[in-house]
């Protein structure tokens, strides 16, 4: 990105002043090196987001921002329903509520080191991963509706996990306001065999060692100690979410003129929050969130079963589950006044600070865990929401590193088999059914997640708590 187009607000914050049809400025949290590596498309897309009706304060980009669809990935925007605000299928994306959850194991590196290959094998056997994989659960119409309204709460009722898990999931495991009837028969058809599956692309399950602690007092609250083993899963709402995205994106793009919305890019497809289409999408999208929460809950159960084949009788409590790719109604303070706003986070994580009423009691003193995924060979990070984040970007933080290289380039640069061997020599076991899939997800095809996380910390978006190193990765 060309820095000359930006005004620097402070060390970590840059502004695109309003130009053209922008209603508000656009703000990017980054430093000069991160900005220089950022696609020029982020500038264009974020400026476009700032033209949408009812946008509040600014369109924001997180330090991992990159070229997305309509919204940049790493884009955050709030819309006021009282000011003609919109809800955008493009601003949520195709993988509704894709997110990360992390589970404690109670094990240490010393416990698992001798058993690593067996553990990798067990996880690979238990976790359905990659294109064409199906879950063991096949939902009929009634169960599908119950799942779409119940989310992880439904999954726990079906025996996947324990009630204590629900406390450690955003929305306590169930997104209210879901409308299963707004989800098409096709979307349900696409999902009926996919519950409890990981998916493909950048989705994974990873066994990780806590390698470094940055904030011991918060790590204590999160239950993290150096050399402890945790397991993180990155996946989303699978075929159901993809189909909801596909259908509503087209419908919103085609009907925008009817609502007098001028779309600078059809991927910004949106509808007024108070319109029938806006409300219909909101209900369907919330059902998509529940699908993702249920999916990650079932995967958690399978993970526990897999680990139990090697380490029986472990207690494996959930640390937390966070979603990206959502639009949520939240109360935020604008110019000293509390307002109910619809916050789009496209490839961004919620990062509520200390004292937020929606947080479970255990985290309320310190803030929400923010789980930042790595990419097979690179570190992942756990951060904590900060009080400053509310003023910086409606309590939002980054979600990962962001791609530095296209899939096409990556598959030309690396061979999957060689990568798997190289990572094995570093003590990281990769299990995948597709070597081309591994090549496309090569760790160096992503930006430096450490630099992104440092910036998020310096910018006050979230506070660094711990760094995790990968030991086993089941690739989707």
């Amino acid at each position: 990105m060309d820095l000359n187009q930006l005004t620097q607000r402070d060390e970590t914050c840059w502004e695109i002043p309003p130009h053209g049809k922008m209603r508000v400025p656009a703000v990017i949290y980054a430093d000069a090196p991160l900005l220089q590596d950022m696609d020029q498309k982020v500038f264009e897309q974020l400026s476009n987001v700032a033209t949408l009706p009812g946008i509040v304060e600014a369109a924001y980009a997180m330090p991992d921002a990159h070229w997305g669809y309509g919204f940049p990935i790493g884009g955050v925007a709030a819309f006021d329903p009282e000011q003609g605000g919109v809800i955008s299928a493009g601003g949520v994306g195709f993988d509704i509520s894709c997110g990360v959850r992390t589970i404690h194991t109670g094990l240490t590196i010393a416990d698992i080191q001798p058993q690593k290959p067996q553990l990798a094998e067990a996880l690979f056997r238990y976790i359905p991963a990659g294109l064409g994989s199906t879950g063991r659960l096949h939902l009929n119409h009634h169960d599908m509706h119950a799942m779409l309204h119940g989310g992880a709460q439904w999954a726990v009722e079906q025996g996947f996990g324990v009630a204590e898990d629900l406390e450690r999931i955003e929305e306590h495991g169930r997104m209210a306001g879901a409308e299963a009837r707004n989800v098409s028969a096709r979307a349900k058809e696409r999902q009926k065999d996919e519950m409890g599956t990981l998916g493909s692309g950048n989705h994974y399950l990873e066994v990780q060692r806590v390698a470094e602690i940055f904030a011991p007092e918060i790590a204590d609250v999160f239950g993290l100690k150096t050399d402890a083993i945790v397991i993180s899963t990155h996946c989303g709402s699978r075929g159901l979410g993809h189909q909801i995205g596909t259908e509503f994106l087209k419908q919103m793009a085609l009907t925008a003129p009817r609502y007098n919305i001028s779309l600078p890019d059809r991927e910004l497809a949106c509808a007024p929050l108070d319109s029938p289409l806006g409300k219909e999408y909101l209900g369907a999208m919330r059902a998509g969130i529940n699908c993702a929460l249920a999916n990650r809950q079932i995967l958690t159960h399978l993970t526990r079963q897999a680990v139990a084949t090697i380490f029986p009788d472990l207690n494996m409590p959930l640390l937390y589950d966070v979603s990206h790719n959502t639009c949520k109604l939240e109360r935020h303070t604008i110019n000293g006044q509390a307002k109910d706003l619809f916050i789009h986070r496209k490839g961004a994580t919620r990062a509520f600070g200390p004292g937020h009423p929606s947080l479970p009691e255990v985290f309320r003193q310190v803030g929400q865990p923010v789980l930042i995924g790595g990419s097979m060979g690179t570190s992942s990070y756990i951060l904590c929401g900060s009080a400053a984040s509310e003023q910086r970007a409606f309590s939002s933080a980054c979600h990962g590193a962001g791609r530095a290289m296209s899939r096409h380039q990556a598959s030309k640069h690396w061979q999957g088999k060689t990568l798997v061997e190289q990572l094995a020599s570093q003590g990281i076991i990769i299990r995948s059914r597709s070597m081309r899939g591994v090549a496309e997800e090569a760790p160096k095809a992503y930006k430096d997640v450490g630099a992104v996380v440092d910036l998020a910390d310096r910018a006050g978006l979230a506070r660094k708590v711990a760094r995790l190193e990968p030991l086993i990765c089941i690739k989707g």
Binding site: G93, G130, H242, K250, A269, S406, R407, H408, G437
Partner: protein
């Protein structure tokens, strides 16, 4: 080759280039298969009919690719070639392929949907038709 991939930071572009609109659509669909697996690994033992219509050629292309994504996902199929007929924004096609075999096809990635990004259907100055868009993977 009458189909190709093109660059996108996170995902991948599919493009068909051929003498007619219908053939460009068919070639772009092979490019889509090639995102998932080598089309040469797929045999044509099954056929699958697809029909759609739309207000313009670009939306029709989006619908065509999304119909294929849906058919592949629900019926667990992979396609290696396509017979496409387009008359006045109405598409009738047959996709030829076989059931997905994870050992044989080694699928790299699943396609979530076709997007409006880089969506273009039109004729080049040399008369060849292009049909393209980015697919989200």
């Amino acid at each position: 080759m009458p189909w190709e991939h093109f660059e996108h930071a996170a995902d991948i572009g599919i493009r068909g280039i051929d003498a007619t609109l219908s053939q460009a659509f068919a070639q772009a669909a092979i490019a889509m298969t090639a995102v998932i697996t080598d089309p040469g690994r797929v045999a044509a033992t099954h056929s699958f009919a697809i029909h759609c219509s739309a207000e313009d050629n670009e939306i029709l292309f989006l619908d065509w690719i999304n119909e294929l994504v849906y058919a592949m996902a629900v019926h667990k199929l992979l396609f290696n070639h396509y017979q496409v007929d387009i008359i006045e924004n109405r598409l009738s096609a047959v996709a030829f392929g076989e059931p997905l075999d994870r050992q044989k096809h080694q699928p790299a990635v699943e396609i979530k949907g076709a997007t409006f990004t880089e969506l273009f259907v039109g004729q080049r100055p040399d008369g060849l038709w292009i049909a393209q868009c980015i697919v989200d993977v």
